[in-house]
C-alpha cells in the first residue's frame, strides 16, 4: 500500500468510526485484534465494543465534540495524526459534573497500517489539559 493509501484508510476510519461512530464499518478499516495502546489507561482498548464504549462516554460528556485531523505524517506502514477536538462539557467527565465550558482535547496517535487495515494504535491524548480546562 502507498503512503497516500495508508493515510486515506486512517482518514476514513477517523470519519466513520471516531466522528460518525458508525461501528458497522469497524471491520472495513481495522484488522482482527486491533487495539489502541492508550498511555493514560492501564489496559489497551481492544476491539470494537471497547472503543464504542469509550466514544459513547466521550460524546456523552461532550455532545457537540468536533474531532478534527489537523496534521498528519506517514512513512512506511505508519501514519501519525495530530487531533484537535473542541467541545462543550455538558455532562460528567472524569468525575467533574457538566460545566457548560468549551474545551479542546488534543492528541497524537500513531497508527500501524497493514494491507489496508489498522492493526494497532498508540495514542497520547491530553487528559490533564482537558481536565484543567473544566476547572
Amino acid at each position: 500500500m502507498s503512503l497516500e493509501a495508508n493515510k486515506a484508510v486512517v482518514r476514513a476510519y477517523v470519519d466513520a468510526i471516531l466522528v460518525k461512530r458508525d461501528f458497522s464499518k469497524f471491520p472495513d478499516y481495522t484488522a482482527p485484534g486491533f487495539y489502541i495502546d492508550r498511555s493514560a489507561v492501564p489496559e489497551a482498548i481492544v476491539g470494537e465494543n471497547a472503543l464504542h464504549s469509550q466514544m459513547d462516554m466521550l460524546y456523552g460528556a461532550f455532545p457537540d465534540l468536533d474531532l478534527k485531523v489537523v496534521d498528519m505524517v506517514a512513512e512506511g506502514d505508519k501514519v501519525v495524526v495530530r487531533f484537535e477536538a473542541p467541545g462543550t462539557h455538558q455532562h460528567p467527565f472524569a468525575g467533574i459534573e457538566g460545566t457548560g465550558r468549551r474545551a479542546t482535547w488534543k492528541g497524537l496517535v500513531m497508527y500501524h497500517v497493514v494491507d489496508g487495515k489498522l492493526t494497532e494504535a498508540w495514542a497520547n491524548w491530553d487528559d490533564w489539559g482537558l481536565i484543567n480546562q473544566l476547572k
Binding site: V73, E75, V80, K106, L108, D126
Partner: protein
C-alpha cells in the same frame, strides 16, 4: 543520506543528545533560532527558552532519559513524529508546583515535529501522559483540589 533518513537521525539525536545528555550545542545545530516547543501546558518561544526547559527538567529529574528507536519514528521532508519512553530515577525538586517526591518516574509520549527547508526543527508539539506523571510524583490530588 537522503532528507528522510537525515530527519529520522535528527529526531533520534533530539532525544539522545538534547534530552538524555543535555547537549546544548545539539540544540543550536538542529533547531531553528525561532524553534517553538509546544506542551500541553506551555508554549516556549525560541531556542533559548527551550534550552532553559531542558536544563531545568534535567536538574529536577535525575538521570532523565528519553528512549526512541527508528521503528518509533515517522518522517517526511518537512514533518516527523516519534513515540518515546521517558524515565528518571528521582524526582528531586518542585515540578509544576508539585514538591520533590524523590520517586522514580516512567511515562510514554509522542512528539510531532516540523522541519524547515534546511532540515532544522521549527516546531515540536508534545503530548505526554501528564496524569500518569502526576500519579507517580503524588501530584494528582492537586489537579482536583486546585
Amino acid at each position: 543520506m537522503d532528507r528522510i533518513e537525515e530527519n529520522t537521525e535528527h529526531i533520534q539525536r533530539f532525544f539522545d543528545e538534547i534530552w538524555s545528555a543535555g547537549n546544548m550545542e545539539t540544540v543550536d545545530e538542529l533547531c531553528d533560532p525561532q524553534f517553538q516547543f509546544i506542551l500541553a501546558f506551555a508554549h516556549l518561544d525560541g531556542r533559548e527558552a527551550f534550552k532553559n526547559l531542558v536544563r531545568n527538567n534535567r536538574r529536577i529529574f535525575e538521570n532523565l532519559t528519553y528512549k526512541t528507536t527508528p521503528d518509533d519514528i515517522v518522517t517526511t521532508d518537512l514533518k516527523g513524529a516519534a513515540f518515546w519512553n521517558m524515565s528518571t530515577t528521582k524526582h528531586s525538586d518542585t515540578w509544576r508546583n508539585v514538591p520533590a517526591s524523590n520517586n522514580p518516574v516512567a511515562i510514554k509520549g509522542m512528539t510531532f515535529f516540523r522541519f524547515n527547508e534546511d532540515g532544522k526543527f521549527t516546531e515540536a508539539r508534545v503530548q505526554n501522559d501528564v496524569i500518569s506523571m502526576m500519579k507517580q510524583i503524588n501530584g494528582i490530588k492537586m489537579l482536583y483540589d486546585s
